[in-house]
């Protein structure tokens, strides 16, 4: 089962994302901030990372930049889910494979995840 790591400090949003992905057949691991997410990514080597922008200790941008700078993590697709910082994500197409602006539908999320995990979305 493909593994998705969710980096999201708001637990209600993290739980909601996890439920949607698990219903779609994914294994999910969550982290409450960017540093924990990086540790989880290094430990579990997920097929995809979904990250919020504003998080304590390490932002979503910092997480993604750190992953891209690490050859062993650089190819893992990263989705930025953001309300206010979507434009920041879109200005870094080399760092984020996709930006989902809040609010988004479950169908959009799953379609995007499926495409990135299967390699159809480049």
């Amino acid at each position: 089962m493909p593994l998705v790591v969710i980096a999201e400090d708001e637990f209600l949003l993290a739980d909601m994302l996890a439920m949607m992905l698990e219903d779609a057949g994914y294994e999910v691991a969550t982290a409450a901030h960017g540093k924990a997410a990086l540790a989880l990514v290094r430990q579990r080597r997920p097929q995809l990372v979904i990250t919020d922008f504003m998080m304590p200790l390490m932002t979503g941008l910092e997480l993604a930049q750190t992953m891209r700078a690490d050859d062993s993590l650089a190819t893992i697709p990263i989705i930025l889910v953001s309300g206010a910082q979507g434009s920041v994500g879109r200005s870094h197409p080399d760092i984020f494979d996709k930006v989902l602006d809040k609010p988004y539908s479950e169908a959009t999320l799953i379609r995007t995840v499926n495409a990135l995990v299967s390699g159809d979305e480049t």
Binding site: L13, A32, T59, G83
Partner: protein, 484 residues
């Protein structure tokens, strides 16, 4: 010389006055109030003020609405700047850390994040949740003390938000430097917001309740007038000069004119000429004597139309900027908003001639009428000290009758001069009359005079023919049988 700690301006109009200059840098405050009292908007208004001044802000939430939902709500307010999110102001949730690792882990995370962000303001929304996570009062005290000291060490000011009422002997109350309480109460049929600084360590904040409101600009606080102006803000350099009243014949009754920097109450029933008297006074506005009409009954357009109909020239001073009209519709006003608005309007243009039309507008706005004497005392002291010559009108309820009710029980001690206007029925005719009843420290002509409307408005005509009972409005000529 006493030490003045550095202050952090809140950016909330009026609040820095209540706080004696703003929040103290590096201090910690609890902001408490029931849900809907305004804590979130209050703290965000301060946060974005800090951001606008180049500071960094860390906003930490526990169990609250999602940040996106919060941003949607804040987007309706002028101070909110979405472009600053994630750069100069960061909103982070630490609930999972609290739930999984406890209070100590939260303290550590906050410490690291303050340092990482370079934050000089920390807003911690959810003190109640932190309290629930603690096993004892000592845990809560330790948590607050640790957050406080970590923040203070780097000069970061802290606002702890909570929806519970923190009382004086609670562990939270004893640890923080200040406690600000927000209220949104129903008084009669209306809602009134009030703020109180319940604790203020090392700072002489203004005690008691202060009204505030939340509008599209955010929060505005109106310091309770009698607290903010317990003494006039400038020395009262009383000078025995006179100021022309603008009403032909009236200055002679006043031994030369209205005493400068005095407050005159012109009272009488509806239609007797109070506003007309006031318009004459305002028509003498000039660059040297800027004037202000602060009224409740008529908007600017209607007032100008009335002046034109009376032959009183307000257009010239309005066009030159010597006269300003401020209309306060008599709907749901806040007493301190009115008082502060008046004083600010006087200060902004150095007003020297003021017409308050009428004092009843302030009375209607008073949620607690028992404070009106103190309110008017503060207001009139400030106007006098600022060199403003004021005419204030007051409408008597009854057109005719022996009873004259003036505002407040100690009004005569607050007002310098009393001028009574009446309709008088005499010999089957209705006459408008004016009588000077009091001029502080000066001689005056205590004779009932008739008034007439001439080419340039209201004017004093001649003494009323000898009659008795003129003050009641129903008079009889001397020598005639009394009409009952």
């Amino acid at each position: 010389m006493t030490y003045q700690p550095p202050r952090l301006s809140t950016g909330i109009p009026g609040l820095d006055t209540v706080l004696a200059g703003g929040l103290i840098e590096g201090a910690s405050y609890i902001v408490q109030g029931h849900p809907g009292a305004g804590k979130t908007i209050f703290s965000n208004h301060i946060a974005f003020t800090c951001v606008a001044s180049g500071r960094k802000v860390l906003y930490v939430t526990l169990l609250a609405e999602t940040h996106e939902r919060l941003f949607q709500a804040l987007s309706t307010l002028d101070f909110f700047d979405r472009s600053q999110l994630g750069t100069n102001v960061s909103y982070v949730s630490v609930f999972q850390t609290l739930r999984d690792e406890g209070l100590s882990a939260v303290v550590n995370l906050i410490r690291l994040e303050i340092a990482r962000q370079g934050a000089t303001l920390l807003v911690f929304d959810g003190l109640l949740n932190a309290r629930d996570r603690g096993d004892s009062n000592l845990d809560v005290k330790t948590f607050i003390a640790e957050v406080q000291s970590q923040a203070a060490f780097v000069g970061c000011t802290v606002l702890f938000l909570t929806s519970t009422r923190v009382v004086e002997d609670s562990p939270e109350h004893t640890m923080v430097d200040g406690v600000i309480e927000l209220h949104n109460e129903t008084v009669g049929v209306r809602a009134v917001r009030r703020l109180q600084v319940r604790k203020s360590r090392g700072s002489a904040s203004l005690d008691g309740y202060h009204q505030f409101e939340i509008t599209g600009t955010g929060v505005t606080v109106y310091p309770r007038l009698e607290a903010a102006f317990a003494y006039s803000s400038v020395p009262d350099l009383h000078d025995a000069q006179t100021v022309p009243s603008g009403t032909e014949g009236l200055d002679a009754l006043l031994s030369g004119g209205l005493p400068e920097s005095s407050v005159t109450l012109a009272f009488g029933p509806s239609g007797c000429g109070k506003t007309s008297l006031g318009l004459n006074f305002l028509s003498l506005a000039s660059a040297e004597q800027p004037a202000l009409h602060f009224g409740f009954y008529e908007n600017a357009a209607r007032l100008r139309s009335k002046a034109r109909a009376l032959g009183v020239d307000l257009e010239t001073p309005l066009a030159s900027g010597a006269l300003e009209i401020v209309w306060n519709p008599m709907t749901e006003n806040l007493l301190d908003k009115l008082g502060n608005r008046l004083i600010e309007a006087v200060r902004a243009r150095g007003v020297k001639r003021l017409l308050i039309d009428g004092l009843g507008g302030f009375e209607r706005a008073a949620v607690h009428p028992s404070r009106l004497v103190e309110f008017f005392a503060a207001l009139t002291n400030e106007l006098r000290a600022s060199g403003v010559t004021t005419i204030a009108t007051w409408e008597l309820r009854d057109l005719f009758g022996p009873t004259v009710t003036v505002p407040g029980s100690e009004i005569s001690s607050l007002l310098d001069n009393l001028v009574m206007l009446r309709h008088v029925e005499l010999g089957s005719r209705y006459k408008r009359t004016i009588t000077v009843l009091k001029v502080r420290d000066r001689a005056f002509e205590p004779v009932v005079h008739e008034m007439k409307f001439g080419a340039k408005g209201l004017a004093i005509a001649h003494p009323l023919e000898p009659a008795t009972g003129a003050a009641t409005g129903v008079a009889s000529s001397v020598g005639d049988r009394a009409v009952t």
